[in-house]
Symmetry: D2
């Protein structure tokens, strides 16, 4: 029985639906019946050919939710929870890190492991349905699966998507103290999640700089205290942050904008001794000019890049999502659900910022 | 009895010798008979009027060694060691942080305390001999004094000077792991100290990029393993660091150059997940261009500014200096000793890089 | 004009009301019109003579709220907020740490500074109204004052009392990760606060072991998810924690019970690699038996003592208290308000556990 | 061709030499020609049946050095260094952690992974030569191999043995600051390594408590500054540590004795706010009595268990061993080399403390 999948055959080539052969189930492998797979900014970068070493044609879709289908001996998720057919699960898109090399073991940077694979990005469509824009996804042995916590709707996970986990990771890396003032630059999926988790982490004030207004409104619902629209001038934004902080500047700033201009602005917003996490630059959008004396040395600043996520971020974020599911309505980020045959339109809508998050639901067609 | 002092009356005005009135000894105050006071890069910045809010005329000299003279009830140093007349001591130039304000208590950044004073920089000569270029220095109550460890010659301390403590602080902030490869940018006083302490901290390899050759030779004597002269091209330096690190880049880079071009270079030298400490930009020497995607986000980098030092750095650095005094021959950094009447020449020699470290010894005249 | 104060003249001697002379206002000094001062477990220890070096007679009361009265030039609180007569403030009971000695500067343990003083504990009543059980409290120069955040009722602060800040400090020291399972041992003031702040810090589950039931109910209102009554047997408590954690044990346990038996129990509740903070042992209640192999080494455990608080804990806790004041109803911990003349009864009620928190309000008489 | 191996068939049964079948070489597998394998305290515990779940008969020997023999496609070590036949290597005894489960990913405690295997301990002799007391050791695919650094003799590695890496890990976990005073309890292999690495980490003073005198002498050669023999009474040891620390106590204590009495002693030796690492309790030797108030809470102590090592410890320790090989003469710890046929005698000599470290060299017979 073949599996329908939306395939990106080459940069800027129209997305087409292919019928992929059903892969043999290796011991420890599983077929997942796709419920929802996200279309995120990285998919737009893939479409524009901005990532290196991508083995087109590919089946995009790195964060997905599905139902447990046929398995070859998989009885538990990564954390030991029992799995039954039909259970809703998500999985960590990163796969096959070796746990042997320097990056995995000594530097403890598994995201730099040379054998690392990522569902929806580094597998060819010729290798099977190894991305979420497909009726069924083949989870190879060793893929780290998590059963969704009881009572947590799939849409609340997929509406956050990979931005949910990246935003979580950015907050973990920023390590704000209880009672800190945190500024988030950007109100896309990463920024919204960063704002939500900064609030849950015990910030006294979370301010989000972003646009358009509906995204800022959503940020406020998700836990932000203050919204600073982008049409405020940079100086007015700075004044607003000074006002919030007794003139001292933010304890923590989290970049989730992908805009190089955010960098020097943040270094002005930061208090002396503050922490800045750069989490939104997943592709090269140009350079930024900083003043080493004023911005870094004299400011005693901590500037930390956050590249990707680890599996623990997924697990921990899902726990909080389940606990606070009445507030963390990431399903509201979803701007539309699209059939496989509409994947191109979904991608275009995300690229044009017509929707914050598009979701592919292969059951729609 | 008056006190002779070399005074900087205004930016770029010739240094002159004044006779200052002997200050009254408050309870807890002490007069220190100056043995040696350093002339450092900051003094050159002061002379060029590059620091803000300096109350000229001033008596420069922020790091000094002296002998305990007349005191009003001071019987111990800050750590409880007994003090007797004639004992050699140094002291922490930073004074009068309030330990009450937000910076002191909540942000734990006492170097940003509004009431902070610094010997040799923020006191007016009209307030007394509150800098080291003077026969005697008045140590106000609460100045944090440390008796030099037994057997540690004053020249080994003053030859390191404030760079010794800044280099120590930079290594503390970089927090290299045992077995790391550390690259230091710069072979001036801060760079030499950073190299020496990185080696003592357990680095497997310490490489110093700098010039001229005698400074690099000194770096090797102080503990560095590899010297990379500045006349190597940037690409060759990068290749050398890749070679040292199995192609992965340095675990830690410490900037001690004051040159903005060092910033992007370091971010190329760093391994993924590495740490970069910017410790050499004590004055504004212009901007640097960085790529947020390549240099920070994707690199998962940690970039940390190090502004000034805390008293603990002084105490800890002196302990190691005493323990390793056979190797840590910072006295060799001293390029000349100058009378008060020669302070201008000392300053000129430092500004022109004719000497790495000049020392004022008021006993010479 | 004299100041009425309740005085503990000696261990186990009846509390009596004295008229103290109004102290002269030094520059930077302030008289605070007392609104409320707590009676806490430490006061019971004082009454039983269990603390060393206490200069009886004393005016107890180390955490208090008052209104700004007569001042000698105090215009701002420690954070720079303007102060006007009648403003409600609290203050950090610890005073006169030297910021010079080894403990203050090198070890960064100011609570061990030899010159440290504590309101309500280390000052003699002969030195003036230097404790909260008095109509007015003399705040000496340098006392760190914080204006209560707008809209935060005094009772919500004093109902938490010093336990509020100790519980906050315990959570800071435990440093739970987002999504962790946290167990708190004890449901007194420290335990209630620890539970509340652990929830605000992003724990997925907070379980409190304690008694009696009303305290556990309060814990649940303040943010705990699970209450484990003390009449459950130790084995049943352990089973409950295993159940909550997939059999692995708690990520974090916080001791707030003062009972040595809590120590080995916690080390059984902890997951491998978990963290245990001992925050409730403010006096010697005997020894505990641990197994170094099973409990520490093989468990890869982190056991951390938390002694006292720092000023930053006060500031940060108040910010969160203000933000979450609808949930953090610590006023409900208050079991009664007592006149100065009833201070003995207040103390007896706390000692007998008839009330969780007693409050002295000198305006009652 | 069969492989001779010394086999522990059951607790307290005499060690015998078996001929094991040569295992088939899986892809990624390698046969190592054994040069040296250690006999350590854990082997004595194995012999006494003190570890749970050991699948006797076993081939003991968890840390070994060998020469690259026949391989099935292994061309590089774990860090990418090329391997040729005859190259000397060591390998990480821990194997087959899953990198999927809660312990591996969320808690980041891979030593608790349920699928973890350890050479020389958890493999049956029926499964092949999976321990070091054998002519050849079969390294299964995924075993983490490190080529010995150029110029580092095998004896300097094996003389340290697993204690070398445990001592390194203990220092990493203690995280002493530069200039700290570090006390090590125990002068066996773990204690000697802890002392050596604490010195390399930048301690100002390293004091070792232990016996007999030759071990203390070795500690001094390896980097310790002070030796405190066990025949000093506990009070005299405490006085000595107070003397070294201006009366304040040690910044860091590392337990490497396996004696429960070390625990309360260490908590008395520690300064307020100091750190204690318990690294020597690899088996249950009974309980210790501590005072939660005096030893933990009031002391603001950090007590950290160190269970096992990670691969990074091996890599980093070897780098430092190579760099400092003139000082780190762990070969001097070797008390004797034994043929396979003498394995029983080797074990007896270690158990009786007749030698600090025994080494099996199968080339001797």
């Amino acid at each position: 029985m073949s599996i329908r999948a939306a395939v990106m055959t080459a940069p800027r080539a129209p997305i087409v639906v292919w019928n992929l052969a059903e892969p043999p189930l290796e011991p420890g492998g599983m077929l997942l019946e796709t419920v929802a797979s996200e279309v995120c900014g990285t998919d737009v970068h893939l479409y524009h050919g901005r990532l290196e070493g991508v083995p087109y044609p590919i089946v995009p879709g790195h964060v997905s939710v599905g139902r447990v289908g046929e398995t070859n001996g998989v009885e538990h998720d990564a954390l030991g929870a029992p799995l039954s057919p039909g259970d809703e699960v998500t999985f960590y898109d990163v796969h096959e890190v070796c746990n042997v090399c320097y990056h995995c073991t000594v530097a403890q940077q598994p995201n730099r492991c040379p054998s690392r694979k990522v569902y929806g990005i580094t597998y060819s469509a010729h290798d099977g349905p190894l991305g979420g824009w497909a009726e069924r996804i083949y989870l190879k042995p060793g893929v780290r699966i998590v059963r969704l916590p009881e009572g947590l709707p799939a849409d609340q996970v997929i509406g956050g998507g990979c931005g949910l986990f990246t935003g979580f990771a950015a907050v973990e890396r920023a390590d704000p103290a209880m009672g800190d003032v945190v500024v988030v630059q950007g109100a896309g999926p990463v920024g919204l999640a960063a704002a939500a988790f900064a609030a849950l982490r015990g910030a006294a004030v979370v301010a989000v700089i972003g646009a358009p207004q509906p995204r800022l409104d959503l940020a406020l619902q998700l836990g932000a205290d203050v919204a600073l629209p982008l049409d405020l001038e940079v100086a007015a934004r700075r004044d607003a942050v000074r006002e919030l902080t007794g003139g001292r500047g933010a304890d923590v700033v989290i970049e989730a904008s992908g805009n190089p201009a955010a960098i020097p602005e943040a270094l002005e917003l930061l208090r002396d001794g503050g922490t800045y996490v750069v989490a939104g630059h997943y592709t090269d959008t140009g350079t930024a000019e900083i003043n080493p004396h004023l911005h870094v040395n004299r400011r005693h600043a901590d500037v930390r890049g956050q590249w990707g996520t680890d599996f623990r971020h997924i697990v921990r974020a899902l726990r909080l999502l389940a606990k606070h599911r009445e507030r963390l309505r990431f399903d509201r980020v979803i701007g539309g659900k699209y059939a496989l045959t509409d994947a191109q339109r979904a991608l275009d809508d995300v690229a044009a910022l017509r929707v914050t998050k598009a979701v592919i639901d292969p059951r729609l067609g």
